[in-house]
Amino acid sequence: MKALREAAEKLLREKRVSLVIGYEGRKGRPAFFAAKPEDCGRLAYDASCRQNLAAYLGKPEIRARLPVALVAPPAVLRSIVVMSAESQVAPGQVLALAVDGDSYLGTFDAAGAAELLRAKYSTLAPEPALLERVQGLLQKSPAERAAFWEAEFSKCTRCYACRAACPGCYCSRCIVEKNAPQWISTAALGHGNYTWNVMRAFHQSGRCTLCGACEAACPQGLPLMLLNAALDREALEEFGSRPGYDPEAKPLIGSWSADDDHSYMR
């Protein structure tokens, strides 16, 4: 961690960034914003850091202070690459302090992060256990699946912590807040909850880096990663989509290929 702190401190001292966003050593590893070189001593990183700090890049307060640096494990690196592919991160405006486990891998911009990912993390995939749960769910009958999600979604209080935690949710006006027309009921009830959670997941398809921040952030413990993982696999199998490895990538939804599968169409 020493190396990480030194790198962060250096960036601030050399004024290459105005802010380093990392995790604080305290219990729970909350996000920590180091604005001064001397703050960097409080930075820490370990496996318990579940928050995806790239989510801050969508927030106006942070955008106002670009350029900034992030402490970024692989999944967060991918988020940065996705955001630059979607023109949310201008070149050079965001630097990643790449970390993995307890080792610090260096400082990278989006392009560099993509290179690092392709070189060292080209095979990132959802945990087998997660995929097994997805499979298990798909084994069940439609009614059983419906019942499962009925039970889960009914817990949703619509606090939108999942959205706040997700770097993909950078829209200034989320669809759920559109009220003319209001496509998604905001009442924390059956169909509104269903539509919200399904659309939230769908809006991440081809973009989600499976960082797990949304599920970690959910106070009700909804198994949101089931949805994310299922979509991630489908996108990979059908379209070879691997978000977060190419800062020039076209959006999966918003591009097409003549030989996309349509076996299910009649």
Partner: protein, 657 residues
């Protein structure tokens, strides 16, 4: 406050028979926002339209729903009526109570309920319609005609005569198409070359017509009024500017034995050639596949003998862009390959030929100088069997449809044969003789009565070649009810008419639809037979369906009229169905920019007075946007919306169901 008028049409009995129109209008009258609900026998009739106009004015209607036929039929009519009464035409919508309801359901209760639903949906939509203004786009008054057959030539000449510029693109080395290959033409037996070649020359020399032979459409951009079409000018290896067409090159060319496509393979051409003596332009091209110089770098004779140094072995395909406002597709047809019929020799019997081969045999300019000689041994056939419907009206092996021209040209063939071989026997096997056309039936009668063609109603089951070279034709005479066997010297199969290969690809370039057989789809089978679903793209000739020359020429002139109509105004009005971006909520993820098929969605910088960029967002170019709405549906925050099909309208429609 919405004041909607609902007008239900009985369409005579067409809707009234199965839908209780009175009940529908009564139910509509109770729908929220509806102030008028009436039904009438013929809404599209003048009194019907008057009823709508009157209500708009007297009831101060803010929107109108007409429950009648398909909007594809009469939306324009009713919107025009609304406009006359001072209502913005885009505040009128139609509920499809005929094609989608009364014609497809027989149970009155069900049909009526569905009709009420369809009307409710449209009322809900129309309450959210906004007044729209048609979009005006400038028109490039130049037409592109694809295909240099008689259809393309006629269309080009008519457009040129109307004072507009034309680019005529032909994939072969010469214009003229199939008509140039015909000997005589029915029903008058005037010589095809004699009536066609003057037109070919006129097309080539007309100041308004730019001829691009040996060229193909490579890609298409833009839209009605403003197409940019890239033409591939195939390498000719002969500089047309220098070439005088003297012919020294192809007279000297040592590669002689190449079957000439123009003569249906019966004649031969050189590796450097003009397809036929009257070709336009009368300038040779080198067939790279056969030229030893281009293949192996050996020979070079043509270059040596050319007095003008026009030969250029280094020649390459070139891409050339043309800006045009309208397009006429006239890519024509070809004959189906009868090799699929094993019973007719599977294409292996040399003396079993198709209609074009016979045309070339009968043609004075053909490989036999107009003498009927059979391919295998050059003997004059004493008995010729003509078989109609070969591959037509046969959905097992061939095509479902009737190829339309075969009855007539077969009668012509029989006639020509009998004129040339007086003692010869011409036997025609037919299913039906379809001679609908001016002077057509008389023509067939002449073939039978004056020229003694023997017509046998029935199919041929088998053609076999005997060792002595005779073709044994076995079939059935279904009128006499007995099998017949004829020992023939030559058999002519009237193969089905099918679209040119590659016509699908071309259609896709222009966004034109085509049917299961590959023929191009007209916008409406009766009322818009020369237009296509793609605005500004028109059809002429056999690329749309099998046609004879008179029909082809009329359609070509019709297409030309459509083009001239389009060019009559410097600007054209387009449906204002276009996308708009809400800049305040756009997050600039650029999904819409990536998705837009027309490059209409673009980046846009929001700047302050000082010109400093505050924020980048997406924006839509009205001129380029065609209104598919793909951008709207890829936008996660719904910051893009589509006029005419807005989020609010669709949401309301769904809530009305």
């Amino acid at each position: 406050m919405a004041r909607i008028g609902v007008f239900i049409c009985h369409c005579g009995e067409n809707i009234g028979r199965t839908v209780d129109c009175a009940a529908v209008s009564a139910a509509a009258a109770k729908m929220p926002g509806v102030v008028v609900g009436v039904d009438y026998k013929y809404m599209c009739s003048d009194p019907g339209q008057q009823m709508i106009r009157k209500a708009i004015i007297e009831q101060k209607l803010t929107g109108v729903v007409v429950g009648a036929c398909s909007p594809r039929m009469h939306e324009r009519t009713f919107r025009a009526a609304a406009a006359e009464a001072g209502l913005n035409p885009y505040l009128l919508e139609m509920a499809n109570l005929r094609e989608h309801c009364s014609w497809v359901h027989s149970n009155q209760a069900e049909a009526t309920q569905k009709a009420i639903d369809l009307v409710r949906v449209m009322v809900a939509k129309v309450r959210r319609n906004r007044a729209l203004r048609p979009i005006r786009v400038p028109v490039e008054p130049t037409a592109l005609v694809v295909g240099g057959g008689i259809a393309g030539i006629q269309a080009a000449l008519d457009i040129a005569a109307g004072g507009k510029k034309v680019v005529l693109v032909e994939s072969g080395p010469s214009i003229g198409g199939h008509m140039a290959r015909l000997s005589e033409t029915f029903p008058t037996l005037d010589c095809s070359q004699c009536i066609l070649t003057p037109r070919m020359v006129e097309a080539a020399s007309h100041p308004n017509i730019t001829l691009m032979t040996y060229s193909e459409v490579a890609s298409v951009e833009g839209f009605v009024g403003n197409f940019t079409v890239t033409i591939r000018r195939k390498a000719r290896y002969v500089d047309p500017a220098k070439c005088t067409g003297c012919g020294d090159c192809f007279n000297k060319c040592p590669i002689k034995k190449i079957p000439n496509e123009f003569d249906a393979g019966l004649g031969q051409r050189r590796a450097i050639y003009v397809p036929f003596p009257q070709a336009v332009p009368n300038k040779p091209v080198i067939d790279a596949a056969h030229c030893t110089m281009l293949q192996k770098g050996k020979c070079g004779l043509c270059a040596k003998v050319c007095p003008r140094g026009a030969i250029d072995y280094q020649d390459q395909d070139r891409l050339e862009k043309v800006k045009v406002g309208a397009v006429v597709l006239a890519t024509g047809f070809q004959l189906w390959d009868h090799a699929a019929y094993g019973e007719y020799g599977g294409g292996r019997l040399r003396d079993v030929i198709d209609g074009f081969a016979f045309e070339r045999l009968a043609s004075a300019s053909g490989p036999t100088g107009g003498l009927i000689k059979r391919p295998s041994d050059g003997k004059e056939p004493q008995t010729v069997v003509f078989l109609q419907c070969c591959g037509s009206r046969d959905d097992k092996v061939g095509k479902k449809y009737c190829s339309k021209i075969c009855c007539m040209y077969t009668a012509k063939h029989a006639m020509l044969y009998r004129h040339k071989v007086y003692e010869g026997r011409a036997v025609v096997f037919y299913m039906d003789v379809r001679a609908a056309g001016k002077g057509y039936e008389e023509f067939v009668r002449r073939a039978i009565e004056a020229d003694g063609a023997e017509y046998v109603r029935g199919r041929v089951s088998r053609i076999t070649r005997r060792r002595d070279g005779k073709l044994v034709v076995r079939g059935a005479d279904t009128l006499a009810g007995r099998p017949v066997t004829i020992e023939a010297d030559l058999v002519v199969l009237a193969d089905a008419v099918v679209p040119r290969p590659g016509s699908e690809k071309l259609a896709q370039l222009f966004g034109v639809g085509y049917d299961q057989d590959g023929f191009y789809s007209e916008a409406h089978p009766k009322l818009r037979p020369v237009e296509t679903a793609a605005a500004g793209v028109f059809l002429a000739g056999a690329c749309q369906a099998p046609k004879d020359i008179p029909e082809t020429v009329s359609q070509a002139s019709a297409a030309a009229a459509k083009v001239l109509g389009l060019f009559a105004k410097p600007e054209l009005e387009r449906e204002p169905v276009i996308a708009r971006v809400n800049r305040t909520t756009c997050a600039h993820c650029r999904a819409c920019i990536s998705a837009c098929p027309y490059g209409a969605a673009k980046d846009f910088d929001i700047v302050d007075r000082a010109g400093k960029v505050l924020r980048a967002v997406a924006d839509v170019n009205e001129g380029l946007c065609q209104g598919c709405g793909t951008c709207a549906s890829v936008c996660r925050s719904h910051s893009v919306d589509l006029d005419g099909f807005t989020d609010e309208q669709i949401h309301a429609e769904l809530n009305a169901l």
